[in-house]
Structures are given as C-alpha cells and as structure tokens.
C-alpha cells in the first residue's frame, strides 16, 4: 500500500503538477488565440535552460532562478508572438498551427545550438526523503514542486477571477469577436496570455528540471500529455487544464503499477501512450472535455 503511494501515486502527482502548469498555457492560447500551439513545449525547455544558466553561472538556487527564468521566457514568448504569430491574426487559424510547428523546431535548434545536447542538472543532488507516519516517504524536491504549483495556481486563479485583464481573458476565450466589439483591448489580452502561458511553462520546465534533468527535448516530450490535459479539461478552461494535468500525470504513473501479476501493466516506455489514449477517448466521447470547454 505505502509502496503504491510512495512509488506510484506521489510521482504521478508530481508529474501531474508539471503537466498542469504547462497545460494552463496551452488551454489559454488555444481558447484565446484559437490555435493549438505546438511550440509551447519549447517554452518549458527554454525556461529550464534559462534557470540552468543562472544556476551554473551565478550559483543561484534553482528556486530563486525560477522567477527570473519565468520572466525571461515570458519575454521570449512575447517576442515570438510579435514576429511570428501576430502577422496571422486575421488568417485561418491553421496558419498559426503551422507557424507554431515551425517555431517548435526553430526553438529546439536554437536551444541545441546554444547549450549543446548533453544532459544537464540543476537539482542539488540526492536528498534524503522525508518520512511521514513512518512509511509515507516524500523527497524535499517533490514537496517543493507541489508547493510551487499550489502558489502558481493560486496566483492564476486570482488573476482570472478578480482582475480586469483576467476577466477580459475569459471573455475573449468565450468570443474574440464580441470582445473586440465591446472595446476590450484584445492585443493587451493576447500579451497577457503569452506572459502567463510562457511564464507557467517556464515554471513547469524548471520544476521538471529540479525533479529530473535539463535536456533539449524535455518540452517536446511533454507536449502530448499537455495537449491531452488541455483537451481532457476542456479547451479554454484553465481549471480544467489543472485537473486534466493531474489526472494524466497520476494515470501515467498508475498504469506502470503491476496491477495484474508482477509485470507493470504498461511498460514505462509507453507512458506517453496513456496520455494519448485518454486524449483519444475524450475526443470520441466528449471533445468539450470535463469542464465543458470549446470545441472547434
């Protein structure tokens, strides 16, 4: 039982936190700018590399480097929007999908060129797990990840519910055309979307780097589960994305538990397949997702 919690459920929760933070950005850009952003994973990767650079150059603590990496990534996301997405504001959205697909590979190649392809680490080494109630074990870095996620989710919740720009973001996710007719500053909303989406992706990247390591394809590998989380939660629904991320993270880990016999139910190599399967089931059964999001 404790083995199940310690080695399957908690890692699933950790992974879920990271997916959730990444998926918020995906769902917001999908809902507000109306396109599936394939370059979102690269925001994570670049955030992690920014943090790595700060940690290795200045010996900064990863948690201190995280907000700086978030700000830098948000800035990058704004720049990419300005030069690569804004020209397509009035084009069919599929042009944006294609542009983002190109940005994904351009960003990967810049990262690979700048930092090389060797795996790097920013985590402070192996830490002794904390024991709770004698058997329950959780490592300090996992506690950090959960705490950071909670704080960030609370900030996002506050922004969306209580600020004018946050409400305008939700309004625009409902209907961009009406938002424009109402006089909502749509470009401002779009900028905020990139700042929030990019920043959270960077945070997810840094947290993943703290948990595992920094490598050039880390964001790309998470793209599929993040899309799955956004669709599971419902496009345009940030709370849905959070729930979706957690569900998919936990589901991926639980599927590797030896439910039948002694072998893992699904080989760890195929974890990505779990997210894909959940996404496919949702697309068939309920494309609007758990939280009744948009269906395009």
């Amino acid at each position: 039982m404790f083995e199940f919690i310690n080695f399957y459920f908690i890692p699933g929760l950790i992974l879920g936190c990271i997916y959730a933070l990444g998926a918020i950005g995906i769902t917001l850009t999908f809902g507000i700018l109306r396109f599936a952003n394939f370059s979102h994973g690269e925001n994570m990767t670049i955030g992690a590399y920014f943090a790595y650079t700060l940690v290795s150059l200045f010996g900064m603590h990863p948690l201190l480097a995280m907000p700086i990496a978030m700000a830098l990534t948000a800035f990058v996301a704004l720049g990419v929007d300005r030069y690569f997405y804004r020209p397509f504001r009035s084009s069919p959205s599929i042009m944006l999908v294609m542009a983002s697909f190109g940005i994904m590979l351009m960003a990967q190649s810049i990262i690979q060129f700048t930092w090389g392809t060797q795996v790097k680490t920013i985590s402070p080494g192996i830490q002794r797990p904390i024991k709770l109630f004698d058997y329950l074990m959780i490592s300090p870095k996992h506690l950090i990840i959960i705490a950071c996620t909670l704080v960030l989710v609370f900030i996002v919740h506050y922004l969306l519910t209580y600020t004018k720009t946050g409400k305008a973001m939700r309004a625009m996710a409902d209907s961009p055309e009406l938002a424009r007719l109402t006089g909502i500053n749509t470009e401002g909303v779009i900028r905020t979307t990139w700042i929030i989406g990019g920043g959270l992706a960077a945070a997810a990247g840094v947290l993943l780097a703290i948990d595992t390591q920094v490598q050039t394809l880390m964001g790309f590998q998470l793209l599929l589960p993040m899309f799955a989380a956004a669709i599971l939660g419902g496009i345009g629904k940030p709370y849905g994305a959070i729930a979706g991320g957690l569900i998919i993270g936990v589901a991926e880990e639980l599927c590797t538990y030896p439910w039948i016999g002694t072998e893992p139910l699904i080989a760890p190599n195929y974890k990505a397949g779990v997210a894909f399967a959940i996404m496919v089931i949702m697309l068939i059964w309920r494309p609007s997702g758990l939280f009744k999001g948009k269906v395009f």
Partner: protein
C-alpha cells in the same frame, strides 16, 4: 575521373532521395493542399512504410521479426494498407473536429509509432535498426544499380503525380476544393464532407508509406531515426509550402529544391567546420559540428516562416480546378 565518378554517384543519390521526398510531398499535398488537413505526423506514416517493407522483405534473422522474403510489390502494398488503416482510425476520431485536433492526434500517433519501433526490440531490433534490407536490382554493378533504382523512384513519382493531377481535376478534386474553401456551403450542397476528407487523408498516408518503403530499400537499412519529426515531417512541410500547396508540380519541385538546399547546406557547414584553424577550434565547444547541424534546421524553419508570411501560396500557386 574517380572524383567525377564520385560526384556522379552523389548526384544520383541526391536525386533519388529527392524523388522519395517528392512522393512524400505529393502525399502531403493531397492531405493539405487538396483537403486542408494538417498532418503533423508524416514521420509516423513514413516509418510504418519503411519498417513494414523492411520486415516483410528481409532474410530470416534472429535479430528482429522477419524472414518473410516477400516480393517488393506485396511488401509495399502491405505497408500502404497498414498506414492507411492507422490513418483511417485517426481520421474517424478527428476529422469531424477542426484541423488543430488532427494535428495533435497525428503528432501523437507518430510519437507512439516511434516508441514502438524503438522499444519492441524483438520485432525491430530497437535503436540498432534493421539492416540488410534487400534493394531491387542489387545484382547490377554500380552505377547501374543506383540508376535502375532511380528509374523506379522516377516512375513512382510520375505515377503519383499523374494520378494526383487527375484526381485534382476530377469532380472529386473539385469537391475537395469546395470543402476546403467553404465548408458550410458544401455541406449544404449535400456533400458528405467527412467521407471526402477521410479519402484524402487515407490516400495521402498510403502514399507516405510507399515513400517510406522506397527509402528503406534504397538505404538497405532502417532505424527509429526515420521517425524523428525533423528529417521527415518538418522538411516535407517546408517542401510543400515552398513549392506551393495545392499544386502537384509545386510539390515535386519544392521537394527537390529543399532537398538540394538541405543537403547542400550540410556540405557547406561540414566544410566550414573542417577548415577552422585548430588553435581557434580549441576555444570552441567540442561538439561544434553537431551543434552547427542545428543552425541548418533553424534556417529552414526561418524559410518556412518567411514563406508562410510573405508567399503563402508558394513558388507555384495552386491552379484552381475550374468547373465547366
């Protein structure tokens, strides 16, 4: 003379692989150019073709599944059917939704296909790949062997091109154009949009698998690298956009043009790396040549963005099939 002969062989291989890319691009043109479907998993369909052909035609071995020694044509047909089936399933799920979902699902399925080929070592020999894939006309001495293979590729390109042209001009092609440009109106005209889209998607994916089969016979070797998205999916997209989506001629010319640029820049970059003075080299990262390869991807990516923004209809814009 030897140098000339070397260049000659290099040119043949360049044109052959360019031709295989042309097949891929024609396949994508049916999906995107005709039907407006975004396939972000070209690599997956390509890899299915490559692996099916390799497994079905190799001699018996204990390194991987194989030993069926099927004729090339049968293997290629099986490869195409397998790819078409997967496309059909994906299409069933996604075609009723907007193209974004298809893009997500295709990139997902490509990733899973890649995982399967990488991890199912008993069948695919894992990352070491399948070697000794037979190649047609292997008995012929060089350069005749390569020339004969080039002729096959050329014939396939021609066949796919002609069929594709006919399809584009046929009533089927006109319906496709109508659906792409004004979905509600074609719906109102009583056209079953999903069926038409499905046909385009499945046929395109089958053509991609055929290209994969050709590639594995040509290289005589296949490993999971074929399913990396950069070399296939991305490059093929750039080829089609630059050449002109919706235009078959544009697809072919775009494929050759981008393949020449892609290979040419590799040559240029490696020459540069080789000629860097050693004392300068010591200041540069040790994996410089590896890193420089990524500059190439960046440049191609930038080219795609420039075309998307400034010349969205490509070098050869689509000729609309005018009815009546």
């Amino acid at each position: 003379m030897d140098l000339f002969y070397g260049y000659f062989l290099y040119a043949i291989s360049l044109v052959t692989i360019g031709g295989i890319y042309a097949i891929l691009t024609l396949g994508l043109n049916i999906q995107w150019g005709f039907a407006g479907l975004f396939n972000a998993g070209i690599a997956g369909f390509f890899a299915i073709g490559a692996y099916s052909a390799a497994i079905l035609t190799t001699m018996p071995t204990d390194r991987h599944l194989g030993g069926y020694e099927m004729p090339y044509i049968v293997a290629a047909l099986v490869a195409m059917v397998a790819s078409g089936l997967i496309a059909w399933v994906i299409g069933k799920i996604c075609l009723r939704l907007r193209s974004d979902y298809l893009a997500i699902a295709t990139i997902g399925i490509a990733e899973i296909i890649r995982l399967v080929f990488k991890n199912e070592v008993w069948a695919t020999n894992g990352h070491r790949g399948i070697s000794e894939v037979p190649k047609p006309f292997e008995g012929l001495p060089q350069p005749w062997n390569d020339l004969a293979f080039l002729a096959i590729v050329g014939l396939i390109v021609l066949a796919v091109y002609l069929l594709s042209e006919r399809a584009h001009k046929s009533p089927w092609g006109r319906v496709m154009t109508a659906i792409r440009e004004n979905e509600p109106a074609s719906h109102a005209a009583g056209k079953n949009i999903e069926t038409f889209r499905m046909q385009g998607f499945v046929i395109g994916s089958m053509i991609m698998a055929l290209a994969g089969a050709m590639m594995s016979h040509y290289l005589k070797f296949i490993n999971p690298a074929v399913s990396e998205p950069i070399a296939s999916t991305f490059l093929v997209w750039v080829m089609l956009i630059v050449g002109g989506s919706g235009n078959n001629k544009g697809a072919i010319i775009g494929a050759f043009l981008m393949w020449f640029i892609w290979s040419g820049t590799e040559l240029v970059l490696s020459t540069i790396v080789q000629n860097i003075p050693p004392d300068l080299l010591s200041y540069l990262p040790a994996d410089l040549s590896v890193r420089l390869a990524y500059v190439r991807i960046f440049m191609i990516g930038l080219l795609l963005q420039i075309f998307l923004q400034k010349y969205p209809s490509g070098i050869f814009p689509e000729k609309r099939p005018i009815a009546r």
